[in-house]
């Protein structure tokens, strides 16, 4: 998850007061933010675009600008430091990604403001025409919403803030631009109406961001421009590429790859045009309302854009608050907290929600960006946060219940005690194994009875164990430089395919034990196996086995007519070689119980 550094000075500026770092951190934590730590950032000026680049105090000064991409031989010059709070972003709450959204929440928590954030929405008079081809099934990026914002003239800091938020929304909502991607432009460079359509990847040309005067075709951009190379995979299924054009055919952007250089935001820009395009209607709407709501907190004024969709016009963004009716009694029961109706309303307003009585219930209005609210329990959570987790008096459930352990666990404990009594030390190993370690090294073959993983990151996790030998042999290998004899055991589950079972597998609890040393052998193993069978009051008969992992003539299978299964033998010298071991090993494995 990305970590974002929020400047304490910037937060205080937005809060209109000078709070101590501790108060800010505590407030953010009590709001549910994941505060990683606080830190001092060093700020460096990019010699090309003047934008501040920041680094942690102990990090190397930058040589490449993270905004304009400028690279220099010399490290950038440091001009200031900044005290910041570093947050691990919460994917579920994109409204808490930036100083604007965080200050809105903090204003409620610190009781500076309450209820819904108030703002007016104007009409920009800008229209966008959406080419019907965009909604052809399975092609292009069908969904688009837009907005206009009047803002205080952009400076380096506000420009940087907007770019960061855009990036984080791409991560949090847009699935790295796949479901939704945002474009932000200087409206004063654009003449409406705007068209959302497609262009040919080979014949069309424009100047991509950061390359003024360099005309490139869309395909050239995908091959050569860093953003094109980075997001090329999103265009693979397209024959023609999405494009946003103004009335004079000036390119705004080629979503979701890159903006044009002519329409980019710069220092001094005071009218923003914003578009969000994507594959998911919810994601594009969420991205837009979250972004413009954050910009409102930074002093922006929202204006709608008339979207002429193939199925009719609509004004976006729609920032109408959502409403949900909730029950005070249900909330009280769900949370178990001592609040009355007045407190109840106060806490909700503290969380920047509006609440009004509505018969037996309460009508709660929540901002458009709070798409996480799907059920009244989501509002209950806000209520609990408004109450303050630190103020909750913990209680315990008074109902009596009877504890009960699983039978295989009771049995395993008994066997574990017996094995330790016999001088064996317990080991634990992993269930996921490579084919080589689990089968080939034992002269076994992967056959139709084994569980196979479809998508492991490495071949080390290709199969799920169906015997316990691998962990034992690997452990001996790891301890091969230590004194012998060594005696070890493991108790754990193995998994076999079982067509009758609900999930297609059966799980068994097994015991494996082994001794490595110059003088060990079948007879010593037999003593141990017999001792364990005796403790379990199990009887079995030994019969010569023909198992490829064991020396011929020195292994046995132990069975009876009640389903007993065990294996005992001397490990084949070839297998010893395969695991880099130089002493004989006697190995026993016993099925203790079927678990699933």
């Amino acid at each position: 998850m990305p970590i974002v550094a929020i400047s304490a000075a910037r937060l205080n500026q937005l809060l209109g007061q000078d709070f101590d770092m501790d108060i800010l951190v505590h407030g953010l934590q009590q709001l549910g933010c994941d505060v990683e730590d606080t830190a001092t950032l060093a700020l460096f000026k990019c010699p090309a675009c003047d934008t501040p680049n920041d680094k942690l105090a102990h990090e190397e000064p930058p040589k490449r600008c993270e905004f304009c991409g400028h690279e220099s031989q010399e490290p950038f010059e440091q001009f200031a430091t900044d005290e910041v709070i570093r947050l691990d972003l919460l994917a579920d709450r994109p409204d808490l990604f930036d100083p604007g959204g965080l200050s809105r929440a903090l204003k409620g928590y610190l009781e500076l403001e309450s209820g819904l954030s108030e703002f007016t929405v104007g009409d920009s008079g800008i229209e966008v025409h959406v080419d019907p081809i965009m909604s052809n099934a399975g092609t292009y990026r069908p969904f688009i919403v837009c907005a206009v914002l009047d803002i205080p003239p952009l400076d380096h800091n506000s420009l940087r803030e907007i770019m960061r938020l855009q990036e984080h929304l791409h991560w949090g909502i847009g699935r790295d631009r796949k479901l939704a991607s945002i474009g932000v432009y200087d409206l004063d460079t654009i003449v409406g109406p705007i068209t959302y359509s497609v262009v040919d990847p080979e014949s069309f040309q424009f100047c991509p961001l950061g390359m003024p005067g360099v005309q490139m075709t869309p395909n050239e951009i995908l091959e050569k421009h860093p953003k094109g190379v980075g997001y090329k995979h999103l265009m693979e299924q397209y024959v023609k590429y999405p494009i946003l054009l103004d009335a004079k055919n000036l390119v705004l952007s080629m979503p979701p790859i890159i903006n044009s250089d002519e329409t980019k935001c710069k220092i001094g820009t005071k009218r923003l045009f914003i578009d969000v395009t994507g594959l998911s209607k919810d994601s594009v709407i969420d991205s837009l309302v979250t972004l413009v709501s954050a910009l409102v907190e930074l002093g922006g004024h929202v204006q709608t854009v008339r979207m002429n969709y193939p199925d009719g016009p609509q004004d976006t963004p729609d920032l109408t608050p959502g409403t949900i009716d909730i029950s005070y009694e249900d909330a009280k029961k769900w949370l178990g907290l001592p609040f009355d109706r007045d407190d109840f309303m106060t806490y909700l307003r503290k969380m920047r929600l509006n609440v009004t009585p509505k018969g037996d219930l309460f009508a709660v209005s929540y901002p458009a960006f709070r798409t996480d609210i799907r059920h009244e329990v989501d509002v209950f959570e806000d209520l609990a946060i408004g109450f303050g987790y630190e103020n909750i008096e913990p209680a315990v459930v008074k109902t009596l219940t009877i504890g009960q352990a699983r039978p295989e666990e009771k049995q395993s404990k008994m066997i574990r005690d017996a094995m330790i009594g016999l001088g064996f030390t317990e080991i634990m190993s992993l269930l996921l194994q490579s084919v080589e370690r689990h089968f080939s090294k034992f002269n076994l073959e992967l056959d139709a009875h084994h569980v196979i993983v479809e998508n492991p990151k490495t071949i080390e996790q290709k199969v799920v164990r169906n015997h316990m030998m691998t962990g034992i042999m690997e452990t001996f290998n790891k301890n091969r430089r230590k004194a012998v004899p060594q005696k070890i055991f493991e108790i754990g589950n193995v998994i076999h395919l079982d067509k009758q079972a609900e999930t297609g597998t059966a799980e068994y609890r097994h015991l494996a034990f082994a001794i490595i040393g110059p003088d060990t052998g079948y007879a010593e193993g037999r003593m141990i196996m017999d001792a364990i069978l005796h403790e379990l009051k199990w009887n079995g008969s030994y019969a010569a086995a023909d198992h490829p992992a064991f020396t011929k003539g020195r292994s046995a299978e132990i069975t009876n007519n009640e389903g007993l299964w065990a294996l005992l033998g001397e490990i084949h010298p070839q297998v010893l070689n395969n695991f880099g071991l130089a002493f004989p090993i006697v190995y026993g494995e016993l099925r203790l119980m079927q678990v699933i």
Binding site: Q29, K333, V377, E381, I402, E426, K499
Partner: protein, 508 residues
């Protein structure tokens, strides 16, 4: 008076001696070793029977190589024969000859000059009159060395008795460690006094056997009464040994189980190979949720599909995802796929077990827990294992609430050894509200995030037929083990270093 056989042997030797003996002589006479003789004499001294006179002497102790050196002749003596014919020789010729014969040149010059055998004159080495004489006779130190080598050491005052010039010996050997060392020695001479003499001569002396151990026969025959067991120095350190032992991780698992069982929880299991339905869908995780990606979850080629529960349950879960069904929720607003729910995965959390338990028996009151292996599609690193242990607990209770959840957690964590616990809001996909737990670790002087909790969303419980609050929490046990044992690398837990398992104390 009771003495053991050895004590008697030593004291008897003292008693019978015509002239007072020293300790070395006692060792020779009794055939016992020096520590025993020395301890016995000290004991006799402390008992007031003996007086010990200390006599300072100097001993000439031959070096290890001394016999060989003297046998072939000391370097300067070997050089005598080089000059025997001519009486003088240029230094460089001497050096060449010396090198040829492997005689150290500097030794020749140093010790030859010291003895007055050679002189340097105009770049030549000259044999002196003393040197000429020396060719026929051995020097004092050489004589002394021959005696010392023969006897394994000799006292200088004994040499004086043999008319050897002790001062010359000291001058020539005092700093010649290659040949010998002169060491100061304290000689203890034992004098039996009157008290000792009368006691040892009396009839009251009883001699007992002293042993380190009793034989089986000594014990059963009663012979042990005549045997005195030697006293040990009980403060001495012993060799280290560690018992065969339960695995570090297993111990944490068993402690966790015990905590839950003591709190009245029933233990449950569920399959490791799980359906996506129970791992994700039943927990209201939308089918396009990133956690379900191939990136994070192990899907299986074999078995490829699992069976779904009753059609009615499946239908309710489907509707909850699509439009909320009758749970009071808006749902996710997408078309739910049964095929995706049938996919098999290696379970990603033990919440798959507890949610199955909710469906199996949703009637309160119930408390259940599950400890088991869970899987994440990650490569092995110091921070991540592709498989690890998790514990999940739930309480199904009419009066369950956020407050009782936090209260139960406090008790649970106290049982796990954490006295100080605090909570903060968090966001998890299937609980609402949710709380993250932090515990205070004395050893780190810090709060450590350690576990998540919450009330299952109604979208999770109602489709499964449960209409009362379900309190849920879970935590990863490897993380607890790492904190407990101070490990920096999670893989250390599974390297199964036998020595490490044995060394870590059971009591933590």
């Amino acid at each position: 008076m009771t003495l053991n056989e050895d004590q008697w042997k030593i004291l008897k030797a003292v008693l019978d001696a015509e002239t007072p003996l020293n300790l070395n002589q006692l060792v020779d006479l009794t055939g016992l070793d020096m520590p025993l003789v020395s301890a016995t004499i000290q004991w006799g001294q402390e008992s007031g029977w003996l007086d010990v006179a200390e006599n300072q002497r100097e001993e000439l102790v031959p070096a290890e190589e001394a016999k060989e050196l003297l046998g072939s002749g000391l370097p300067e003596r070997r050089a005598l024969s080089l000059l025997a014919e001519t009486g003088r020789m240029p230094m460089k010729d001497v050096a060449a000859k010396a090198q040829e014969l492997d005689i150290p040149m500097h030794e020749i010059i140093k010790w030859g000059s010291a003895r007055g055998w050679f002189e340097k004159d105009k770049g030549e080495l000259v044999l002196t009159e003393t040197g000429k004489t020396a060719m026929q006779t051995l020097d004092a130190d050489e004589n002394a060395m021959n005696i010392a080598i023969a006897r394994g050491g000799v006292y200088l005052d004994d040499l004086a008795d043999l008319d050897i010039d002790v001062e010359r010996v000291k001058k020539l050997l005092g700093t010649r460690a290659l040949v010998a060392k002169i060491k100061p020695r304290t000689i203890r001479i034992v004098h039996l006094n009157e008290t000792g003499t009368s006691i040892l001569r009396s009839k009251d002396i009883r001699i007992v056997k002293e042993r380190n151990t009793l034989t089986s026969e000594d014990i059963s025959s009663g012979e042990w009464r005549n045997i005195r067991l030697r006293h040990y120095d009980v403060t001495l350190a012993a060799e280290s040994v560690a018992p065969a032992k339960i695995h570090l991780m297993q111990k944490i698992i068993q402690e966790t189980r015990t905590a839950f069982l003591e709190m009245g929880f029933e233990e449950i299991v569920s399959p490791i190979v799980e359906s996506a339905f129970w791992d994700f869908d039943a927990l209201f995780q939308p089918q396009d949720h990133p956690a379900r990606d191939m990136q994070d979850t192990f899907y299986l080629t074999r078995p490829a599909e699992a069976r779904l529960p009753d059609a009615e349950i499946v239908e309710r879960v489907k509707r909850t995802h699509e439009d909320g069904g009758d749970t009071g929720s808006t749902g996710w607003g997408y078309t739910w796929s049964e095929a995706r729910a049938r996919q098999t995965v290696l379970r990603t959390h033990t919440t798959a077990s507890t949610i199955r338990a909710v469906q199996a028996n949703p009637r309160p009151p119930r408390k259940v827990f599950c400890v088991g292996k869970v899987f994440r599609n990650e490569s092995l690193s110091y921070k991540h294992l592709p498989e690890f242990h998790q514990v999940d607990g739930i309480i199904i209770d009419e009066n369950g609430s956020l407050a009782t959840l936090l209260g139960t957690l406090k008790e649970f964590y106290r049982k796990m050894g954490f006295e100080k616990v605090r909570f903060k809001p968090d966001f998890f996909p299937y609980t609402e509200p949710s709380a993250e737990i932090s515990v205070y670790m004395e050893s780190k002087n810090a709060w450590i995030e350690f576990g998540g909790s919450g009330l299952f969303r109604p979208e999770v419980t109602r489709p499964l037929g449960c209409h009362v609050p379900v309190l849920a929490w879970g935590l990863g046990l490897e993380r607890l083990a790492m904190l407990r044992y101070g490990l920096k690398d999670i893989r250390e837990l599974y390297w199964s270093d036998i020595d490490k398992i044995k060394e870590v104390p059971l009591c933590q």
